[in-house]
């Protein structure tokens, strides 16, 4: 094959920006099955479901009288449905690739049409958003954005490059108040959460505020933040597992993040040391 033809084929080789998603395949297969089944007899299925629902409701209502509710409960708890594999879902509203985030996307060569705001936390100049995107390698990349600044994007998994190191100390328009901190847990696919912490203070000797944002793997059910004063805050997990915690007083600063699965087991722990960074 001639070189020119080879070059043309390589130039036309499509760039793939999506990841394999086996659960989605299974979901589509199930949907198609369901659609076929419903086409065969929606009414029959509805009648059967109604009869079943009445039967279950009746059973639940009368079983205490016969002392068998415990057994009924055990019956349901024995059901062992196959558990989906844990995944990372970078979902959120679309972000226009304009201004600094657009420049950052171009600089680090992530696909500008794939920018998504995964989570936002804090307010005013302490506000930080985590922006997800698909890189040229077809893998997820992350960047941060705040009022008047944006970091470069870096890969969610894989080695940290030079561009990433530089972005660790991106100065914001707020001087010391805006020094950023490295992403905790990055380059570590075994973690159950990825957190990013921005913090600062009005004086160079003490940290007085912090904004913690991040997102959790799909098997995470609960995330709590423990403050330096010992209080525990349950963080809301948004669509895609995003969470945020904002502290505006020294006593509210986060000391640790605890991560639990649906059975209440502790499956992750992150500890934070908030110390002033030298510019």
């Amino acid at each position: 094959m001639e070189l020119e033809t080879m070059v043309a084929l390589e130039e036309a080789r499509p760039l793939i920006v999506f990841e394999p998603d086996w659960n989605d395949v299974l979901g589509r297969a199930q949907e198609a099955r369901t659609a076929r089944r419903s086409a065969r007899g929606v009414r029959r299925a509805r009648s059967a479901a109604l009869v079943l629902a009445v039967a279950v409701a009746t059973a639940v209502a009368i079983t205490p009288a016969f002392g068998v509710r415990g057994r009924l409960g055990s019956f349901f708890s024995l059901a062992t449905a196959s558990q989906p594999r844990a995944t990372w879902n970078l979902v959120g509203p679309r972000v226009a690739a304009t201004g600094q985030i657009g420049a950052a996307a171009r600089l680090t060569r992530v696909h500008q049409r794939t920018l998504r705001r995964i989570v936002s936390g804090g307010s005013g100049y302490r506000q930080v958003s985590l922006i997800g995107a698909i890189g040229e390698d077809g893998k997820p990349w992350l960047g941060q954005q705040g009022p008047g600044w944006a970091s470069a994007f870096f890969p969610l998994f894989g080695p940290v490059g030079e561009v990433d190191r530089a972005s660790w100390r991106t100065r914001t328009a707020h001087g010391w108040d805006g020094w950023q901190f490295p992403m905790y847990g990055r380059s570590d696919a075994h973690r159950v959460v990825f957190s990013y912490l921005a913090f600062g203070g009005t004086q160079k000797t003490a940290v007085t505020w912090a904004t913690l944002i991040g997102f959790a793997r799909s098997d995470v059910a609960r995330v709590t933040a423990v403050t330096v004063s010992g209080a525990t805050h349950l963080l809301h997990l948004g669509r895609g597992g995003g969470y945020a915690y904002a502290a505006v007083r020294p006593g509210e600063l986060p000391r640790a993040l605890r991560v639990f699965d649906k059975d209440g087991r502790l499956i992750g722990l992150q500890q934070f040391r908030l110390e002033p960074l030298e510019p």
């Binding site: 001639e2 070059v7 036309a12 793939i16």
Partner: protein, 169 residues
Amino acid sequence: MADRIEQGATLAEIEAVYRADFERFATVAAAICRSQFVARDAVQDAFATAVRKRRQFRGDGSLEGWLWQLVVNQARTHRRRFAGRAAAELAAAHANTDVRRGEELPATEAAGLIAALPERQRLVVFLRYYADLSYDQIAEALGVKRGTVAATLNSGHASLRTMLEEVAG
């Protein structure tokens, strides 16, 4: 093998091929559909079909060949169904053509030349160079004879060469 002939492919076997070769499936589908987002749907739908019909896989060919057949057919169907969407994406890509992709031939122009090939030539070229399939595997995926693959590939090369000479001239 006898077990497979009786029972079809297993879910684990299909998943293993999906995970191992996803990028190749996606690349070929994207080349056919000329839209990576349409291609994603095509690959996902093709494998969903494979999951549903796995018991119908008789095992007289390779599992990979059967899956390639499903992906190629699904991609062709999607290309027809979502032609408008693909065109819009292509237009956007053209507007954002980037210098780092090469001075000699912008990606969209090369893709345009390849798109001008007859469909069978295009499919064979994609399967050969983007999926790195052998002649036998391509024949299995497209349901044609090995000799047909060789002849079609040869014609594809010749057509591309002619078009590139015209562009250069």
